[in-house]
């Protein structure tokens, strides 16, 4: 939490651990098709990894990975990817989020839906990650810390 609680072991451990958590989060996002997991859980794990860095190495240095001011814009971007997918199918003649109207060639109807799901899972994970980090940052800033 505070600078006094930092120690080198913790910093090193969390810096080593973070990429693995992030890798696992990506796996969770894309594994959503086959087993438990998906955009939300993956996004939350990505956020957790960043929060871990924020907690251990401090906000200044962990900002290199994810800037504070990015929070809501990236969150909005994630939601926009989602809504944009829906809007795209709508503009291409289908209903909102009717994935088989996606402009991807050589894919069957079911595969198009699969692709659409993947697309929005990416949007969801991006939004969730960014916003959760932003909430943390705002709480820290609002309470006068970090």
């Amino acid at each position: 939490m505070t600078s006094s609680s930092r120690n080198p072991i913790l910093i090193t451990a969390s810096r080593l651990l973070a990429p693995f958590i992030q890798l696992f989060a990506l796996y969770v996002i894309f594994h959503g098709h086959f087993g438990p997991g998906g955009g939300f859980q993956g996004g939350a794990m990505l956020a957790a990894s960043i929060l871990m860095l924020r907690l251990s190495v401090g906000a200044e240095r962990s900002e290199l990975k994810f800037r504070k001011s990015w929070g809501t814009p990236v969150g909005a971007l994630g939601a926009l990817i989602f809504a944009g997918t829906g809007l795209l199918t709508l503009l291409l003649g289908g209903r909102f989020l009717e994935y088989h109207f996606l402009p991807l060639p050589d894919l069957s109807r079911a595969e198009l839906h699969s692709a659409g799901i993947l697309l929005i899972e990416v949007g969801v994970s991006l939004a969730v990650m960014a916003v959760l980090v932003a909430i943390y940052d705002d709480i820290m800033e609002g309470s006068g810390g970090g």
Binding site: H33, S69, A79, F96, Y99, I117, V131, I135, E141, G142
Partner: protein, 97 residues
Amino acid sequence: MRKTSLIALVLFGALLLYASSGLPGHGDPDGPSHRERSRVGSPVAAAHYIRHAQADAASPNIVTVVLADYRGFDTLGETIVVLTAGLVCYLILRRSP
């Protein structure tokens, strides 16, 4: 306030007790939400999902298909909720840069 909350709690508890007397048993496979057809003959969503999810979206995890495809709009709403919470925190807490 305490007295009114107590009354509210008692009423709420009584309502829940009353309701649970008519709920289908836990895990009862014949519950209306588990059937294939509703009382008026309309298709019941859950059974339809289980039957068609894999064929419709080429993925075996039904929950994901329902979440992102059949009821994808809910999930869009969910993402918006998260974003809203982020914006509210920004609005309340962040100081001017």
